[in-house]
């Protein structure tokens, strides 16, 4: 329950309420973009430094394998449900499924911050797992979309740049490597920027995300009751799956929660642009509304405390 009164969550709720009340509150777009770059840079550095401090372990390889497995499996399962229960056509089902197989950096950062404040900080290598899980689901989604009709998929060389060299993937991976190289001592001079101000700037960013998510929901035209239900059911099922896998692999409760959050989250940074490019026939309003306006707020307000409790229980069960 304390999690709900964390300042980052409260700022998110404030943003959402302001947008629903049609307030003119807004964060300038360049500032919002700069904040997202700052957060990705800070979290990448933090992960790299933790790994440099603890060294490479087998746990890290297991976590990477688990993350990869989840990002390949989730879109396939999601696709089947979106086609049958969600009543979506093949292209839209594949586009939405790709979003659920990928991850939300902001959900992870928020969860990471809350877990750290509860003395349950996840292992640093989870940042690498986060970066690793960004793109495989896009490839699975495109494969699913291609079945039966190749002409619906735009396969061009620039798709590679849009997926593998996507700005968020490059920044996360790059700052993780920088963190590995500089270690704790090298981080000290830049700590006032990347550590001291981190939570405050995360609050500001989540205020903007609250505004963005609520406005996206208000303007969503193609969302049906079935799709809204799936936008909530997917994170619950996927998070539970992540939690079971994390606990069965012997991870601590914080790392298990982080894996659950990665599995539960849906991308709205790296995947939408790549899917818009590769599947122009898919409805961008639909996949952005499901991932950003339904699943993201659910994970921030309900998912983080829920998966923390489930993961603590699962880890105790496996001990």
């Amino acid at each position: 329950m304390d999690v709900l009164f964390s300042p980052v969550i409260l700022f998110f709720v404030l943003g959402a309420l302001a947008a629903f009340a049609r307030s003119d509150l807004s964060i300038p777009e360049p500032l919002s973009k700069a904040l997202s770059l700052y957060l990705m840079c800070a979290i990448g550095l933090k992960g790299g430094i933790l790994v440099a401090d603890n060294g490479f372990t087998w746990e890290m390889v297991l976590a990477a394998a688990a993350g990869l497995l989840l990002s390949l499996l989730i879109p396939i399962m999601a696709f089947a449900v979106l086609r049958s229960f969600g009543k979506l056509d093949r292209i839209n089902a594949a586009a939405v499924a790709a979003h659920y197989g990928s991850v939300s950096v902001v959900t992870f950062i928020t969860g990471n911050q809350i877990l750290t404040s509860m003395d349950m900080a996840p292992a640093g290598y989870m940042i690498a797992v986060l970066a690793l899980m960004e793109t495989p689901a896009i490839i699975v989604g495109l494969y699913l979309a291609r079945q039966g009709n190749n002409s619906d998929v735009q396969q061009k060389g620039d798709l590679f740049r849009e997926t593998v060299l996507n700005g968020s993937v490059v920044l996360l991976t790059g700052s993780f490597i920088i963190g590995l190289i500089i270690g704790k001592e090298g981080f000290e001079p830049v700590a006032p920027v990347f550590q001291t101000g981190f939570t405050g700037l995360l609050c500001l960013f989540l205020l903007d995300m609250g505004l963005l998510a609520a406005r996206r929901l208000r303007n969503a035209q193609t969302l049906t009751f079935r799709l809204v239900s799936l936008g909530i059911a997917f994170p619950i099922f996927n998070g539970l799956l992540g939690s079971i896998i994390g606990a069965s692999l012997g991870f601590d409760a914080g790392t298990t929660t982080a894996l659950a959050l990665l599995a539960a989250s849906a991308s709205y940074i790296a995947v939408p642009a790549a899917i818009r490019l590769a599947l122009p026939k898919a409805d961008a309003g639909l996949y952005l509304a499901m991932s950003l306006a339904i699943t993201f707020p659910f994970n921030i307000v309900v998912g983080i405390p829920l998966f923390t409790s489930i993961s603590i229980f699962m880890v105790q069960l496996w001990l």
């Binding site: 919002s32 061009k156 963005l212 122009p280």
Partner: protein, 101 residues
């Protein structure tokens, strides 16, 4: 004054590169890009949103060329109008060109 055709194409930001590639194939090399803040159309309201990788954002591509080249470019764009959600306006303009002696 020289007679030219001006094309203004409102395109989703991730698809801009496709438009640029097609314009070059048609022989159009010069263009200017304008940012947009948001708007509303048949598909609903949209806002400039850089956080989501620009997937929901749009950009205005403007080019001025000879009528023949502009028509060639428009022919390649017509089949993509619905799929890419393009909005294209065409106008006849007078351009003041520097005189080459």
């Amino acid at each position: 004054m020289t007679k030219r055709k001006k094309l203004e194409i409102l395109v989703d930001t991730p698809l801009l590169k496709r438009i640029r590639d097609l314009s070059k194939q048609a022989g159009v090399y010069g263009y200017t890009l304008y940012p947009t803040f948001g708007g509303e159309g048949e598909a609903g309201r949209w806002i400039d949103d850089q956080v989501t990788g620009g997937a929901g954002s749009k950009i205005l591509y403007v080019t001025i060329s000879e009528a023949e080249i502009a028509d060639r470019f428009l022919e390649t764009l017509t089949p993509l109008l619905e799929e890419y959600g393009l909005m294209i306006t065409v106008s006849n303009v007078d351009v003041l060109l520097a005189k080459n002696d």
